[in-house]
Symmetry: D3
Subunit: 332 residues, 6 copies
């Protein structure tokens, strides 16, 4: 299909964008899903410096790369999370400030708002990212949260995100929330609850990343069929179950790549996801946005893998049927 | 085998012990795993009132019930957890106090110490319970905890629990920690880490409850084979996977019994656990303590279920081989 | 649960009812689902003879059997089927008449109407049966029917059955159509279409027989969850897949019991159906009608099997949870 | 292997043959399995016009395409089917005539005879097609056909087809009947019965299309091993099971491509068939005829798919072992 | 069914028969499959002492036990095996003699002949046992045996066994060879070859023990369907696969009960065999001989297990259908 | 990865090396694992003729092939096997001699010693091969070997092989024993026992060939994780299970390629082995030696297959991760 195959720059922020761009182009990518960290895209400079955005666009266009999506997972995480020391490691200093939770969350809201405005300046209509969650620590633990505790968590989520979504609406930008453990929604039912908490407002949809669903035992295709008009962005990332009787699905706090984990991320096509089924379902729902490779695989050289992934996705992606006008033999 | 089949009283604390005891006896149980909440067993009264313990023992013995284990999961949870509003609902007022986290944790340590002393007074050598966890909220979420964060969490666990275990040592009591999501250990690797954090001290072992392992994709038998000399208590509780492509393993914050959950608890023998394999492995490692039914099943009448479970466990439990002295035909 | 376990008399019509009734009672059944063929129940005599119904009820009650359901599958089959020679073998002579298709269908409508009135006379509120189908011969074959052909078939079904359902409404009787290959509906989607064709009128619901769904690869529980308020009757019949690479799911026109078939019927509990899941789902949707064993198993002595089945169903059926009033320990 | 990879033209009859031929050649095909409908091949013109056949052969040969097989499924369907309105849509007007069933069947016999003669004129030795079936409507339905009904159906099949097969014998042509639901045979047992009804005459063998066997739960390799000397033609078509608990194997009268179906056709290599095993079994039995792609996939652009399929089959097909003359190391 | 449930005495030869008989009777058995070792049955005394046989029969009959089968696996093993030190441990001294292989094999032939005559004296028509094998050591190893080596092995088998089978014929006794690894036949193909080597003589059939087939990945029911008229005896023994990625199917020379083995024997109903399918297939082929429990389970107390097994088999065994004379409703 | 892809010459010994070398080079191989039979490599000539080795090296180097491994499975087999007629077919005449077992074994020891010295002369540091086994004939058979019999077998193995390994030590050569049925070790446990019998001396490690483990039900990755520092050589050979209920895992003495076998060898990538997992595990343990294709597939043309296999392995092999110096986004 004509869906552009792009690379999410987030895992490559150790490289200056100047270095990444020619590589991505050489590997075959047609664009970037640009991360708002490292020097890839700096939100405040984008808003304050007159030619910052144009320079980025020029750099990309010199290598024939488009930039259809801007991503700010790290700041989004702080918008409605219980703030602790971990957040300092992922936030810009000016968002972290003194680290007082209430203030951090407030500044995260403002930074996400700025991200939306910067996207508009870049001519981008989709911002992708995380939301954080007031409820995550209750997943699977003890005591289980009561229904009212859960409801309160979703209300807080809505309270924090509605102002950002208002700016989205004003700027013609959609927020593509990545459904992901640790976030307000991580599966079908919680995604329904998140939409409901926002009264289904159109600015809010999903970044579909099947890897997070696969290890939870969910068929990613069911997600696409449940939310056909809310798929605003797609991450191509694979995952594998490595359950052998001794490994557990919760990962034991072990780093990726450790063989004692119950699941792991994989370069696309090297894991357990039925990509053919995913492509067919994307065709069914008429998704025609980019396919962004988010490359993570603790067991493979990343440059080899990024190129391999680009080829894989191009080989995979095919057009849906356009039925012929005339009638034909339909059954044998 | 001669292992007594007993009932964990924790799920029945809405009934006065006077009411539960004759029922348990009638259902066929040979003893109770007595919970330190409701009126089943009150730790402070046990220590301060001269005949409290004896009255409890008399009540049980009138119905031919033994009490080989005392359980205090609720207070144990607070020992090294990040304290929040949920804990108020599970703690005695005098442990919660003003709710200041540091103080709550300190009082929880003291109450667990008291629990150990009360067990000694009852003539019980095994206390079962939870530990809480400084790390649980990082499971599966974002950003993943670094190795040093994980190490610090296990150190805090050891710091909080070592004083309690010192009292265990002095009182001749073992603490049988229930490996369970939300606790310091919930699978094989984290159980190894917990033992290591305590330098393997003998007072600390496990309450083996296969239901929590089963839904994580772990074979419970592998747990028994990894820790053959640390199985200090056994809960008989079943679980079932209900993955149909739409349900997720993390449960979506849905209550037990909701068909949209990815797993659920079940009355023993009504779930997915291979109990025959569990019994054979218990025989292999020489476990001869009680088998305590922890009855939870949101889809079954609990009195029917408690009786059904007792019969199931008695039917299930068989003696290991005692090889005959003479030689025999060994192969055909 | 208090659901009565009854026997569907249809497979026993070679025995006079006088002979079957004491056997059924001895095997442990609490009632019959009475078939309108053989001498079990003759519709025209029931309407024309003053004491026919009362004599039947007396016979049953002498053996403590109730009769909550009347079944007339054979005549129902002819209501909207393309009539051919096969139908003569299953219809009373006065319904077959000269065998002219249009006339046979018309007389079948009248006989089903009479069946409903006879049920009312017996004090029965559920009539179970087949519908026939104008579309069945197109299943899986060539050429596939167009959407308009399918629509026309469902319209014909509605045209034929609405008059019968009008009488149902007047008599306070529900028609429990058995979803079954060969009938207007045989799976979830066709059941939806049948309800839609009848504008969802309440007189029309389903006899749920999981065996027919199982061999089609359908989870019977999904049927119950899709139509929770349309389950008017339940057949307990099991089925087994016998696919070994050489057998086909369509059965090769081979009789039941032939090992070359791809599936077969089985005595309840001797096949592949997850009965525990079925009972839990019946509890969930609040079904409290009878559980009627429809006994078919080409590999088992039927009298042995009928008794075995009755015991199986009684052992299987359990009450749903009635949550205790007080609060209890809910998580460990 | 040297087996030619060809395209079955039946699904492309909306395109004039002039248009299809250069496309097929460009996609990599080496020949066509030519359909007797659309303008691809007109039987009566072939017999009555002197140069019709040669012109077709010339057109193909200009693009280096051979034509080893002629197919006439649509007329074959009418030879022993119960004729109804559906048949009018697939038959030439002169075969349908007044639509009187007996006459239609008779004219279908004559047209199939003509097809065989036309094949001979083209220099083709294999005609592929359907048979129709007097028995299909009884599959899976109610009441099941008795053994004598089944026997009568196979007799009728033989009565109708023997005259056509006599002409085959005279013309040196084999009829490769496509085993397929809706036809006289659709699985192993019915294929045995069809052969038996014809006393195993050599003119009658099979077009092996594994897709129809796969969704019935049959291993296509077992078919090849059962009828090693009756495989007269091979269709390469894939199929996929899409059973998710709610979909049924009988398809619910839903069109291909609807996600609520229990199975669907797929472009070769995009479904569930183990093609490697099929190729190995074809090698085992020594089949050296063409591999004809019958392209059907409701979820893929057909021109993309036809080319993809041709490459897939060429990549797949490999030579069997030719053991070396000398002895070698055979075991490590 | 009326098939007697008996106990194979071979695994109990450490107990004097006087001790075993009352136990077996108490456990519920109806007879013994009597082993020719220990003091259970001594072949030479049976032939030389006038009342030896009658005394054995009297002992059994005092406890209502029949003896329909005599077993001599240990001596049978030596008939065509390459003799080595292992055989000394299983043979009577007078068969072992000086241990010269040729002489041992010859004396084993004579002892098996004596066994057949002793059976006749006891009134028994089935002798069960092993054959040994000249080929076993080549299974799976290196270098693989050539076709001529295999053929020679089967010829040797026939040469050694034909004289014994001649005596069988004369005495009206059948030899029920237990298909088993280590023997001339251990699966379907080798069983066919063994029959062929003996030209299918009727004195030679099989003791069907599904446990040996199960761990080889063979469906025991397929064995019954392949050799329906050669099932002369049945052993009821279960087996379980314990493959976890680390264990191997060949058993690593580890003793039964070691968790590192890839398979193990189990008490009937405690392993992986589909006993329901076995019983149905035995009904299909009309086997009406005894069902002999051969009790082996390294993880269970053997007296508990022997009783449990007897109850299991009695519960399992049911009569095949006896179709009713009249016609009935056959389809719903 | 930079691991060279080479071809094991053993299966091609019917071709003179002069003929094989250019083919191997053309197919894409980078070297040979050279077999000591046929004319590929003659041990005695290598030691006695001055320029024999150099000529072999020159031949290879003219076609850019290296020779990192020398293989002598056939002679190794005789070192501690019970010698019988089969061995004559695989041994050089001067090793077989008069065929007296003790002498054959002694000469096999000497020939293996010579092989090690010849390897040194070629500049090769790894000799691959078989060991034979005094125990193999006891696998799975009757009676099972006692623990002391097993221990004696491993002692004999050590006694025979230690002198050869002493020469290995002196020559700087490692012996890479191919774990394989028929040898002293064939799975994880027996491999542990073999190492133990040799007190873990470093000259002895393994040729890892996953095909032999796969059909035994063992996950080859578990072998690599158990012996990470003993993988001295790798064979790339695939295998497939063909269990269909009738075939057995022990192979029925049938030749490769017979569809009645329960498993078979396959060209790499055409069987059931998870090669991606194997490569990842080889990366994990840091194996950087050659990947030697041992090509065996009874259903494929061997020249086609050898080329296909070389491409497959090159496509498969990828570098492990080299983590970037800077920090990056690690979780989404």
């Amino acid at each position: 299909m004509a869906r552009p195959v792009i690379l999410f720059s987030g895992q490559w922020s150790d490289l200056p964008l100047e270095e990444l761009v020619p590589k991505a182009s050489e590997w075959g990518y047609q664009g970037l899903d640009l991360a708002c960290w490292g020097d890839h895209f700096e939100v405040q400079r984008a808003l304050s410096e007159a030619d910052y955005c144009q320079q980025k666009l020029d750099l990309l266009s010199r290598h024939d790369l488009s930039v259809p999506v801007l991503s700010n997972h790290k700041v989004g995480q702080a918008v409605c999370d219980p703030i602790d020391a971990r957040h300092q490691t992922i936030l810009p200093d000016y968002v972290w400030g003194d680290g007082n939770p209430q203030g951090v969350r407030q500044r995260a809201v403002e930074e996400m708002t700025a991200t939306v405005r910067a996207a508009q300046k870049l001519g981008i209509t989709v911002v992708s990212g995380f939301t954080g969650s007031p409820l995550w620590s209750y997943v699977g633990g003890y005591p289980a949260p009561s229904a009212s505790v859960v409801a309160a968590g979703f209300e807080e989520f809505a309270r924090q995100w509605n102002p950002i979504l208002d700016v989205c609406r004003d700027c013609g930008v959609k927020f593509a929330f990545e459904v992901h453990p640790g976030q307000i929604a991580f599966d079908l039912h919680t995604a329904e609850m998140a939409l409901e908490a926002l009264s289904g407002r159109e600015e809010f949809g999903f970044t579909f990343d099947p890897s997070h669903l696969h290890w939870q035992g969910i068929d990613p295709v069911e997600f696409l069929r449940r939310f056909p008009d809310r798929i605003y962005h797609v991450h191509v990332k694979d995952a594998v179950l490595t359950l052998n009787g001794r490994n557990g699905i919760l990962g034991s706090y072990l780093p990726y790549g450790d063989p004692r984990r119950g699941w792991d991320f994989r370069s696309p096509g090297h894991g357990g996801i039925d990509w053919e089924a995913v492509i067919r379902a994307l065709n069914e729902i008429g998704y025609d946005g980019p396919l962004a490779v988010e490359w993570k695989d603790a067991g493979m050289n990343r440059e080899y893998g990024a190129e391999d992934a680009c080829k894989f996705v191009k080989r995979l992606d095919f057009d849906p049927a356009r039925p012929p006008s005339g009638s034909a033999f339909r059954e044998a």
